[in-house]
Symmetry: D2
Subunit: 427 residues, 4 copies
């Protein structure tokens, strides 16, 4: 279904090569200041063409609010938003009409519906997520204003390249801001193949080793030595980012692609969110994440690795009471912020696995709809890695889930304000 | 919420130490033969006390159908079912009233609801899943009769002990039946600590090494050398099962616990199930699994490991057309049976991570509701590992999800029968 | 579907001649004092056999709470309740197996489901409403405690007998309490056919004319002159009640039946309830009422008669501001308490039309399932009029609707308490 | 909520004076031929300015399909549609900012949301229904193609003017087509005040008496004697239509308004639609109708009048089996096409009461939001009667309800086609 949520309810529409994509958000609280300015930033962050690491499709992705606000304030009525498609190039996908692209939804849409969009992914395209990101902008603003909640997602793995364990742990405990992710994860590449972070530090692309060398911080992007600019990895650890960037460039050259892992931390989430037994907070987050294109796994807290621990290692012991909120706190957070499906006040920490991009330039031997094996070359511009662009999708769906659960809890609690742990000083 | 599903809709009720637990299943198709005999087997499989590896609580867990059938046939009206609680022992949990148990939902229920059941997990107890398993029995029977769908779940990891990679792969490609899982994964233990499988093969518990020795197949369970009988690991690879069993016994002796991983394969699922964009089949399965107690992760197909592959490795190439069903097939199944959120006809393969059991006998230093750190010993009988008992839960929720999605697809398709790939001969 | 509500969610189950009927109520706020004592009274009021005007089936209809409470307080978890069937007498309906009863659901259940309960109405029986009345008891208590809301329903018409217009108007403006309805509407009948109200006033049954005669108020029910006792009409106007009672007795003697109209007034409902555009308060009430058995019409405020008015007559002019609540009030209430689908603070006033009872003792010439016209005599004990028993059904569904809408509004409003007009002194 | 439906799911958006109004329709079956041509006709029928009896606002109300189709065929993905607002004139309503208009939702939106649209009805405006009518166009086409279902609504009462009983009965038994309603109910008015129908028959406006006089059928609309053209009453009985037209003109001159009753007949609806117990077909229809602006009552079959009948009069006796469909039929249809909440194959017959239009030109003494009684004159162009324009709204909501229920029944039935009675020859 194209509708998500019980109270804060998002309906999306639109195919990749149609007139546009968008959403209706029902249940937006009235009196919230809201203009396109609130929604555009995350749309811009998910936009293709930001970086030399992603596709060069230059889509403006400019959002328009069609209803639900007046003079920049929400009315409590449905907020409809639309982003018009600009750059359609239907012909690029033309040869896919008789051969379903491997790894894509061409085949399953055809068997499910008996028909499919003739160009591109149609509804299965990542463009579908624009409506979600737009809706997420509203949810996120409301959560931040009501509860001081912040949500950040960064790239923690690309292919075999993973954040060093201690770095991964430190980031999960003390998450960077979105700005820090965008700046620390942004690199320039020199002509010699090495990468430069925003502080001017130079790294080898092969190993991520810092060279110790330092380029000027305000390095002109058009200087002679620069080969590629604005490489948005969204991995907030420059040495790792350098290896990731090198790996992605290598795959692009080869016409191939990679997957990766995104890590998300939510801080300042109200306690008590999540509706046992079916709509547990981790269940709703899992559904939301697995409803995004190309996701193959979800884990919260220690996740799959945590099964190796013993109960005595894994249990987060309560360590005392927070003075401000009168909430209990723990010093460890193996649970990832949820107990029994209900937010505990600890940071929500989860990871999402993204499969290698299915659109590759390499020739593939695969069967047509008629069952005849043929050679397929999928034309068009492909991202060899979508991890950096996927982070706003994860942030947006997280906001939508938590916003809906917060409202459901308010329905029960009524006049009692929800509380959240705002500081992390207990750890 | 305690309701799951759009068309096939399950509502559950009941606390662990109340009168009973159960469910109402709305949307059950009429004319299905249904008696308690259809529902009881999975309830019996999830029952505690089956094995020396699990808690000794002896609960009958006998289900009664209260409505929705007449003369053993469903009427199309809601099927209500109840399992009465027998063995309550409220006192065992008495000292948890002032101290929330670490890793449990005591604390979050208290902050969410301002009140919690005074004994045991209440609604957060694993007993809550009885209603789901009962409902799953109906879903599973319907799927089997309508589409020949089979669902099996086995234990693929306990703590650090994992199935060898080739065994894991082989099982996912050629899944065992439920009977095979129950028999291959059932061991006896000799007084010398070694384990014997149903074929009489003897294994070391420390290494899983087959000794080459063979005990009589019909070994009398009361023979002198037998120390423990009926060890239901539900790991269908006896050497691994032996190590798992040894590890669990070690932890039980230490008053500690472990987690693990369950692997599920669905064969013969109709193609075309899953409702883009939010209710993708993997999204609904993820939600369903993460709504089960103690689950911390979900992955489909290659999951988290698959992110290391390249697109050209990961894409499942279409290899031809199945003669019986006219459906396309692939020789690999990295996707795990879903493309774009819609079932492709390939087997659905997913894994669920279960955290180490939070109920341990070891003393824990943890804060009371008042914030004072105290020593807590949780009395009662605890499972050091719930993996084997959790498999019917996973199977049941899988059936419920697929049953609901199949009905949603039928709503669209109407008179056209859904199809499924019944054989795996293409691989 | 057998589920109603978004936040306060009621699932019902049970056939008339099965083991029992009941419900699961999900979303019950925690901390509410709740025992069977809270739920039983309305079940007792809907019970058959209370009056000589209704069927003599003596069913205890004793409710048991199975979950969701501890020590008489709700836990916030699902409250399951059951009423066991006692008096089944399957044989009475035996001859309906080949001939669908006219006016009943026998035929449509058969065509919809391909099967139907072999005895009685099955799920289409009025016994199905027991689950709703039980759930309504919870909703009603919560609304009363949180907002001082009261809901009363009385009989305003039986067949051609209607309350005099001025009496109807006065009752809608100044509604009686439920106790007053039960007492004013309860009559004794003397052997001469005349009726006596609880104040000892005597009325002619044919015309409702008060005779001026007065019998002792504490008239012994077993005194010689009394022919029938405890005639519960639930029409709070004794002269009209007397004519209704006489008419019902006449129809019972003839083996025939009648319908009627129920009027409901809700006072002290919070303002702001109702979710435009589809879930307007009158839309949800209409659905709820039309989901009750035998209902054929719903109207709010002036309803069908009001279409004859002009806009200038019909518009309720705002007359000032209530000092206590700071809410605006009107002196007229043609709208019946709703503007634009949202409660205005004025009393909610609506009426429900109940068709003549379909179960009659008269022989009917009607076709069998095979299409052959035969003579049908439906055996069993039939109510010639169900109006008095239907009032708790209407009250319960009203409570369920308003409780759910109040919670939905709280989800939006959060910390701001909802308000209601408590006094009617402005009119 | 702004979402209706379980499978065929409609979300609407838009305020009366914003950018536009529209909807997303999720669950549209794939492969349906669909262009704006299918949707526009009913939008045109609901458009203001069609007739001298309705407001002169000239809005094009031209619909655009934004998604969900390709080459004029539905893809099974969400169909989004938008109608842009053209004629906004915000100033006309300017003085309503401090005084809530009586009978309107200004006050309740303000108390519910704490804010309201500054101009016009915002979301409570009848323009909101455009999204529903657009969605209804899809539902109606699908029902017609799949099941031959037809839905017609006509005006059966305006103020005190009602169709003669025998005419009303005849029309309900043998309903006119939509074209017949539009033509028979369209009048010209001569300068002497008399009305002429499309056949040239002349009627007195005061009494509806046919004069026996006959004007030329192709009367030029600009001929000297014609005072008003294109009076669309949508009452398919010219004598009644003439009285209605005269009455509406009288009220417009007086600055006042009237209400009325709409009658709907659905023929060829599949049997077996309606989901007991809460989502009975009449319950869903009642909700849908009562969710339309200005509706105050709903009744099905004999409705409120039917309560005066006895059971033996009211029961529709089964009279035999239809040869084509093998369904039972009845000769009477007091039930209005539903038994136990499930369609029986008989025509669905229901009526909707519409209150007098709240927007009147007469001065009203009413309180401001501050509680001060002031004189209010609502400027702008008002319809004195909206009955004729409301008929496409009723038809559209009916189609949406039945389409969703048909899909829900298909989910259960699967491969068995639903059946319907196509002819009315049994009566």
């Amino acid at each position: 279904m194209s509708v998500y949520g019980s109270i804060f309810r998002v309906s999306t529409f639109g195919e990749s090569h149609g007139i546009g994509v968008g959403c209706i958000v029902d249940g937006v609280p009235p009196g919230l200041k809201l203009t396109e300015e609130d929604v555009q930033p995350q749309l811009t962050r998910r936009r293709p063409g930001q970086s030399s690491l992603t596709t060069q499709r230059q889509e403006g992705d400019v959002v328009s609010i069609l209803s639900g606000t007046e003079n920049g304030v929400t009315l409590g009525t449905p907020v409809a938003m639309i982003v018009r498609n600009q750059d359609q190039r239907k012909f690029d996908y033309a040869n896919t009409s008789s051969i379903p692209r491997p790894g894509h939804a061409d085949y399953t849409y055809q068997v499910k519906y008996g028909i499919k969009a003739s160009s591109g992914g149609g509804r299965a395209s990542a463009r579908e997520t624009i409506g979600r990101v737009a809706a997420g902008g509203i949810a996120e603003k409301w959560l931040r204003e009501q509860y001081g909640t912040s949500i950040v997602t960064w790239v923690s793995a690309v292919g075999h390249v993973r954040l060093p364990e201690d770095v991964a742990k430190r980031l999960e405990t003390t998450p960077p801001t979105r700005d820090e992710i965008d700046s620390s994860g942004a690199l320039l590449q020199l002509e010699d193949g090495r990468f430069v972070d925003v502080y001017g530090n130079v790294y080898e692309g092969s190993s991520g080793e810092p060279t110790g060398e330092k380029q000027g911080r305000q390095m002109p992007e058009d200087c002679a030595k620069v080969k590629e600019t604005k490489i948005h990895t969204r991995c907030p650890h420059a040495p790792s980012a350098a290896i990731m960037a090198a790996r992605i460039q290598q795959l692009r050259a080869a016409g191939d692609s990679t997957g990766g892992i995104l890590t998300t931390v939510v801080r300042g989430c109200p306690v008590g969110l999540g509706e046992p037994c079916f709509d547990k907070v981790e269940a709703e987050l899992a559904k939301a994440m697995m409803s995004l294109p190309a996701t193959k796994g979800f884990e919260v807290g220690t996740g799959f690795e945590g099964v190796k621990m013993t109960g005595s290692q894994h249990n987060d012991l309560f360590a005392g009471k927070d003075a401000d909120s009168s909430l209990l706190y723990t010093r460890t957070n193996n649970a990832g912020g949820t107990l029994g499906g209900i937010t505990s006040g600890q940071d929500i920490v989860f990871r999402v696995a993204i499969k290698p991009v299915s659109s590759i330039s390499l020739e593939q031997e695969t069967a047509s709809f008629d069952g005849v094996v043929e050679k397929l070359v999928v034309k068009g511009r492909h991202d060899p890695c979508v991890l950096s662009r996927a982070s706003p999708l994860v942030e947006s769906m997280t906001a939508i889930v938590l916003c809906d659960l917060a409202m459901r809890q308010r329905a029960r609690v009524g006049p009692t304000p929800l509380q959240s742990l705002q500081s992390n000083s207990h750890r």
